[in-house]
Amino acid sequence: MTIDPTLQGRSYPAGDIYSVGREAIRDFARAVKATHPVHYDVAAATALGHSDLVAPPTFAIIVAQRADAQLIEDPSAGIDFSRVVHADQRFVHHRAIVAGDQLVAELHVDSVRAMGGGAMITTRAEISTVDGRPTATTTSSLLVRGEDQ
């Protein structure tokens, strides 16, 4: 299977809303072994000026990977998910993600580079609240290994 080079520049509009729940924040915080009380205790979060529980710094990956799935599952992209390796990741936070947020992500394919028999695909998810407040920009590079790699 070959990666379509014209993928570069393609975008996918915001899909389903991701509703940030308190238990999702607590579960994710436990899963990354975060212990800070702002992830667990509403009073601790409000004492630091937040409206509700604060998501850990990499929580946005949930929303970003849902957006990436639009590309990976797009048959016209030609990506075999079992050959995808996560090469790098960046999160730029424009505001803290807090419980109660209704988030959407617009996905952009920033670059596609051939690498051996495979390709390195860089995607960017622009995450905002449903009413348009910029929240986070996440960038992921995915290495799709070729058949002999």
Binding site: F28, K33, T35, V54, R66, Q89
Partner: protein
């Protein structure tokens, strides 16, 4: 707790920690993140695709390593930018028969790599390794200081 900006120096260590990982931790991360790729929980599947065994999600390691910075910053939302490259898989041994025994240990050391007085930010450079070999490269967290 983060110190006031003017007391910080480039090269200063903010702390260090070791994150222990078990297969159960990977199952928990898979559930919490929605990343159900079997290379993170099924040995025969992982070996079948040429890996040395079950490996941790890169995003698990990235997410756990930054806790050192969250605790130092005093408020995790002060981390305005965080990035890394994934260079080497973290193989997690099956210790199911000996509960409490870690399947891998990831060492994390944080050092101030840069200071920006205009923006009042400090960049913390994380060294993240297993048995001395780096598993994350260019792991950098930018912290907004009070």
């Amino acid at each position: 707790m983060a110190l006031p900006f003017d007391t910080l120096e480039v090269g200063q260590q903010i702390g260090s920690t070791t994150v222990t990982i078990t297969r159960q931790d990977l199952v928990r991360y898979a559930g919490a993140s929605g990343d159900l790729n079997p290379i993170h929980w099924n040995s025969s599947f992982a070996e079948g695709v040429g890996l040395p065994g079950v490996i941790a999600h890169g995003m698990f390691t990235m997410g756990a390593a930054v806790q050192l910075v969250s605790d130092w910053a005093g408020d995790p939302s002060a981390i305005v930018d965080y990035q890394t490259r994934f260079t080497k898989p973290v193989v997690v041994a099956d210790t199911t028969a000996t509960p409490g025994e870690p399947g891998a240990g990831v060492d994390v050391v944080g050092v101030i790599g840069a200071l920006d007085a205009e923006r009042s930010t400090a960049r913390v450079d994380l060294t993240v390794s297993v048995d001395g070999a780096k598993v994350l490269v260019k792991a950098q967290a930018v912290v907004k200081l009070p």
